[in-house]
């Protein structure tokens, strides 16, 4: 029970930390709304030409726009979460102190990132979605169970997003400067998560490939659960498999990396 309370406290501190920046949050909500508007008009033009593009009708496509704007910061596929700090600690060697602490490194940062994600869901997710629902005709379900199923998928997406960025941060053990890897991962994240366009609009083999990559768990999967275009249980299995696989990979890399730190003499 003690460890659960510890990680809950860490998550709480992550939440409070981001909740401090109120003006920045308001500004971010404004940005999400502006980009949501631009994309919404664009999608209307697209679905006007091809009414059932990617298997969505227009209302579903518009819901996709506003849900993706709401989830953008929650899953942090563009970076900007804990990883900058972790990279800095690896670079400066402060990581050695963290490794001595009686808490698991990966779980510690995961708890912090969950707190951050929860804040961004409330702080930057709700308002743009409400704005979109007021201005456009969205296909949002009224059944609370569907929303609950959606939140489970979001939570799994947050864990997948975390585990990708954890691996990015660990690359700093070898590269010392994580900026290049972080940039490449964020480019891949924007492209493969469905941020630019729903993944089921991607043509042919490219579409099949991006839908099998882990980034599809970040935005495409939760949105499809909410819109009822994907089976929740099947989605959870895929998301969960990616989450477990990537977390395990993170552990493996971490143990290799820490052995390296010891060899170097810390």
């Amino acid at each position: 029970m003690g460890t659960a309370r510890l990680y809950a406290a860490v998550a709480g501190s992550g939440f409070r930390r981001y909740a401090t920046y109120r003006v920045a949050t308001a500004a971010g909500v404004f940005t999400n709304t502006v980009f949501g508007l631009i994309l919404a008009y664009l999608f209307i033009a697209l679905w006007d030409v091809k009414p059932h593009l990617g298997g969505y009708d227009e209302a579903q496509a518009l819901s996709y726009v506003w849900l993706s704007q709401a989830l953008l910061m929650v899953v942090a596929m563009m970076g900007g979460g804990f990883e900058d700090e972790l990279i800095e600690r690896i670079r400066t060697g402060d990581i050695a102190i963290d490794l001595y602490r009686p808490a698991d490194l990966q779980m510690w940062w995961l708890a912090q990132d969950v707190g951050r994600a929860l804040f961004h869901l409330l702080g930057r997710g709700v308002v743009p979605l409400l704005f979109g629902a007021l201005v456009f005709d969205l296909a949002l379900p009224s059944d609370p169970l569907t929303w609950l199923a959606f939140l489970v998928a979001v939570a799994l997406g947050v864990v997948v997003g975390f585990s990708i960025r954890y691996l990015v941060a660990l690359s700093a053990f070898w590269l010392l400067d994580g900026a290049g890897v972080a940039q490449l991962t964020s480019i891949a994240g924007i492209f493969c998560s469905g941020m630019l366009l729903p993944l089921n609009v991607f043509p042919g083999a490219l579409g099949e490939v991006v839908r099998t990559l882990p980034w599809s768990a970040l935005i495409q999967a939760p949105v499809d659960v909410l819109l009822g275009t994907a089976d929740p249980l099947g989605t959870y299995v895929t998301q969960g498999a990616w989450a477990l696989g990537l977390l395990a990979a993170g552990r493996l890399v971490q143990s290799v990396a820490t052995r390296r730190v010891v060899v170097q003499g810390g």
Binding site: Y21, V23, A24, A26, A27, G28, F30, T31, V34, F35, L37, I38, Y41, L42, I44, A45, L46, V49, K50, L53, D177, A179, G180, Q183, L184, S186, I187, I190, F191, L196, L197, V201, F202, P203
Partner: protein
């Protein structure tokens, strides 16, 4: 990257001193507008040259980030390509026509971003108190803020915009006239000036709302994204807003539609396609006033 930037900070004093010596000839307040502009540009050149030297200390890192900048902006165009793999026309426009809009806006924005893209760091400097150091130097503050961490890697964005523009100009079947040829470079330069005015006004806003740089982003990056698509995609109200209130439509829509021989969705005479330089001038003046007002209203954090 962060590392090279930190090391560069220590070297900043020398170019700033040099720029200050040039300004020392006359007391700052008594300088005319011309002298101040000359000093400002000189300071800008020296400080940005210093940041370029600092970046070039890590050439591999520079090459990587410049490529990353190129690739990240190219994704926008890849998204357009993906859309056109499923539809033939978007808002009634073909792919090369959209590419012309994209190339003009992307290049103009890239130029403004290269020159003034660092201005969204102003809020951070106000917050952490380092803005005060800029005030005590006898060098125009705006030149220091604009050249702060000058990032040559932003050439990646310009390159990408020019490539798409080149593709559009080659593929499009335009009946060229001397006026149409003239409109293209005019649009690029005026567009860069309009975006620059937005950058400066956004920075002025950050004196008031210190950690609201995202608001600035929604007008700069958001405006650029908006202009990459045909105006027919958007609602009339939105078009009126970006034509008459924040005149982004003059960056590329109006000149490009003249070149393409298409009407603008709002009822405007043809000659407005030639007004972007005028509009750019009209944007820069209030932006300059906003900057001065912001600077005058600035109260140090005292920390």
């Amino acid at each position: 990257m962060a590392d090279s930037a930190e090391r560069g900070t220590r070297a900043v004093a020398a170019p700033v001193r040099e720029a200050a010596r040039a300004a020392d000839a006359l007391p700052f307040e008594r300088q005319g507008a011309y002298e101040r502009l000359r000093d400002g540009l000189r300071a800008y050149r020296l400080i940005s040259a210093m940041w370029i030297r600092s970046t070039m200390a890590y050439r591999a890192s520079f090459a990587m980030t410049a490529f990353g900048n190129f690739a990240a902006t190219a994704l926008d165009f890849v998204a357009i390509l993906l859309m056109f793999s499923r539809v033939d026309r978007l808002g009634g426009y073909s792919l090369p026509e959209v590419a012309l809009l994209y190339g003009l806006s992307g290049t103009a924005f890239g130029l403004a971003d290269l020159g003034l893209g660092s201005m969204d760091r102003l809020g951070r400097r106000v917050r952490d108190g380092t803005f005060d150091t800029l005030l005590v130097r006898p060098v125009p503050v705006i030149a220091q803020v604009a050249a702060d961490r000058f990032a040559l890697r932003r050439l990646g964005r310009i390159t990408q915009g020019l490539l798409v523009l080149g593709y559009a100009l080659v593929v499009l079947d335009i009946h060229w006239t001397p006026l149409k040829v003239l409109v293209i470079p005019m649009a690029l330069l005026s567009g860069a000036a309009i975006f620059s005015a937005v950058f400066v006004a956004g920075a002025a806003f950050q004196f008031v709302a210190q950690d609201a740089s995202e608001v600035q982003n929604s007008f700069t990056y958001g405006g650029n994204t908006l202009l990459q698509y045909p105006p027919t995609v958007f609602s009339k109200d939105l078009l009126r807003g970006v034509t008459f209130v924040l005149p982004l439509a003059f960056v590329n829509w109006l000149p490009a539609l003249y070149v393409l021989g298409r009407p603008y969705p709002l009822d405007l005479p043809t000659w407005v396609a030639f007004t972007p330089p005028l509009v750019a001038a009209c944007c820069c003046v209030p932006a300059g006033f906003a900057w001065r007002a912001g600077l005058r209203a600035y109260r140090s954090t005292g920390s």
